[in-house]
């Protein structure tokens, strides 16, 4: 790093602005505050897209009296763990198994190989399509009905999350205000750094518990290949917790870790916004067998830990590296304005928030413009 990220403001900077970049930012600033479109969650494919189907065998039962004992026998001899959302019975038809189960055998031979008493129960078999995954939304549940009866457990939160009014008007305005600050931050850099020609990405970190901006950072990848705004913002958050790895290349406000001159500008433009973080209380212990006293537990509970509980506002969808960094940091919600078609990690190329083996999931929202 050569320390030139933030050259001192010389001369009236206005004249140096690249007109098109500035117009872009002004357009965004206007859109972000005036647009009436609802902020929308970035959809999981298994929720947004039509239900995937799978081919299964069904058998028709001759005598309705045999239904309950057959179901019991099937649950014992042929349980289908991956399709537990499917009910076993539809009138006199019984769901048996995916067609892949029988290998080279016919379904009759396969059932007989499991238990002899299957032999005389069914008078005919069929191959049909059924939903491969459990329905998650009411609408999906409706769609399953034309295929096969499914179990469905409605999830109120999920229904709301996928609706257009997940956020109240007041909440929406607040999210748009934080995005506006992120844009102001970009504008400030464009005006003050002659080497920036495009709108730089900005990451703004907010602690919703105290409604305050905790950290902010601007892309610096031209000088340092991994210093994307997210990576810098996460390091600035670490700095508010007595940590941090990168040395700042300009003077930062001690409370907010925002460059002093930028902070003054933001505070002047947005006097109603709070800047600063909850007090960090260390729970660092030297003794590994520490039993965690009463005092110790309270302090670690209300002390910030990584980005747990924090909201992240970004101008552009983060790249794969930055998206995974946000998983590691355990951010709570990510908001972004513009898609990153090249290597976006939350919508465009992959949706890390839907990868089930990553055990931290956050919610991702867009739709500011």
């Amino acid at each position: 790093m050569d320390g030139s990220l933030l050259p001192a403001i010389q001369e009236p900077p206005i004249k140096k602005i690249k007109p098109s970049t500035n117009m872009t930012i002004n357009f965004y600033l206007n859109e972000v505050t005036s647009s009436k479109t609802p902020l929308k969650v970035v959809l999981n494919d298994d929720i947004s897209e039509s239900l995937p189907l799978i081919e299964v065998y069904t058998g028709h039962i001759q005598n309705p009296k045999d239904i309950s004992k057959t179901v019991l026998l099937l649950n014992e001899k042929l349980p289908i763990k991956e399709l537990q959302h499917l009910k076993r019975v539809k009138k006199q038809d019984i769901f048996l198994c995916p067609i892949t189960y029988t290998n080279e055998m016919t379904i009759q031979e396969y059932l007989k190989s499991l238990d002899d008493s299957f032999a005389d129960i069914f008078d005919s078999f069929a191959v049909i399509h059924v939903p491969k995954q459990p329905p998650k939304l009411k609408k999906q549940f409706e769609d399953t009905k034309e295929y096969w009866p499914c179990n469905f457990h409605p999830d109120k939160y999920l229904e709301k999350l996928f609706s257009d009014n997940f956020f109240t008007q007041e909440e929406s305005n607040m999210h748009r205000k934080y995005m506006y600050i992120a844009l102001l931050n970009a504008k400030w850099y464009v005006m003050n750094d002659a080497s920036i020609h495009d709108v730089p990405n900005v990451t703004l970190v907010v602690d919703p518990i105290i409604a305050s901006v905790v950290a902010v950072a601007t892309d610096n990848r031209k000088k340092h290949p991994t210093q994307h705004s997210t990576m810098l913002a996460i390091d600035n958050v670490a700095r508010t917790q007595n940590g941090g790895a990168w040395s700042p290349d300009c003077e930062l406000d001690e409370e907010t870790m925002i460059p002093n001159s930028l902070l003054q500008c933001l505070k002047a433009e947005m006097p109603e916004i709070n800047f600063g973080h909850r007090k960090f209380k260390s729970n660092r212990v030297t003794d590994d067998n520490n039993s965690g006293t009463e005092n110790n537990e309270t302090s670690s509970l209300d002390s910030p830990y990584l980005c747990t509980g924090y909201y992240i506002y970004m101008l552009r969808e983060p790249c794969v590296m930055c998206s995974m960094a946000l998983v590691h940091a355990r951010a709570k919600r990510i908001f972004f304005c513009v898609d990153n078609e090249r290597d976006g990690g939350l919508k465009s190329k992959v949706k890390l928030q839907t990868v089930s083996s990553l055990n931290h999931r956050f919610e991702v929202f867009t739709g500011f413009l």
Binding site: H224, G243, A245, V285, V320, M321, G345, L352
Partner: protein, 169 residues
């Protein structure tokens, strides 16, 4: 030939001694180590300070000190890391057009090849090879998971200590 994976494992061990998730990494160029580091997440309270990210910073300093253009420098680097790079580190290394990555054990939770293949997104992919020291790298991780991570909030440590620690890979 120098056993670079051995060196990476030594770094992982020293991470374990300071209560970090034991992952070590060396960057090698023309048979010479140009950077070596270990996980420093707890020390920095920054969850992105993985061994690979630290090594990238070391290389940048190395290049700056010698007035070398870093972009082409990275393209000749072979990375030896005790655990398969996570999605974040894999993306960072691919963006730098690293030549090759050789890892000890697979990373089932966060691996940039095992969990999702970052190579599908960044086409100029490095070659990725599993190394024979897998067991040793895995044993170090297991040793770490057995203990508790003293830096996580107390309440969470109690409830699910192994999960917490694994998240730091």
């Amino acid at each position: 030939m120098i056993d670079f994976m051995r060196q990476a494992l030594e770094l992982a061990k020293s991470a374990l001694n300071t209560n970090e998730v034991p992952v070590g990494c060396v960057f090698v160029r023309n048979g010479k180590i140009v950077a070596q580091s270990k996980n420093s997440v707890n020390e920095t309270r920054n969850p992105t300070r993985h061994a690979e990210i630290n090594c990238i910073d070391e290389v940048l300093n190395y290049c700056q000190d010698r007035n070398i253009e870093y972009r082409s420098f990275f393209e000749d680097i072979i990375v030896y890391v005790t655990v398969e790079p996570c999605i974040m580190c894999a993306a960072a290394l691919k963006n730098l057009n690293i030549k090759e990555v050789i890892y000890g054990c697979a990373n089932d939770r966060f691996g940039g090849h095992t969990v999702i293949d970052v190579g599908d997104i960044y086409p100029n992919s490095y070659s990725l090879t599993a190394h024979s020291h897998a067991q040793e790298a895995m044993d170090l991780l297991k040793q770490f998971y057995k203990g508790t991570n003293p830096h996580a909030p107390q309440e969470k440590v109690k409830k699910k200590k192994t999960k917490q620690d694994e998240e730091k890979l």
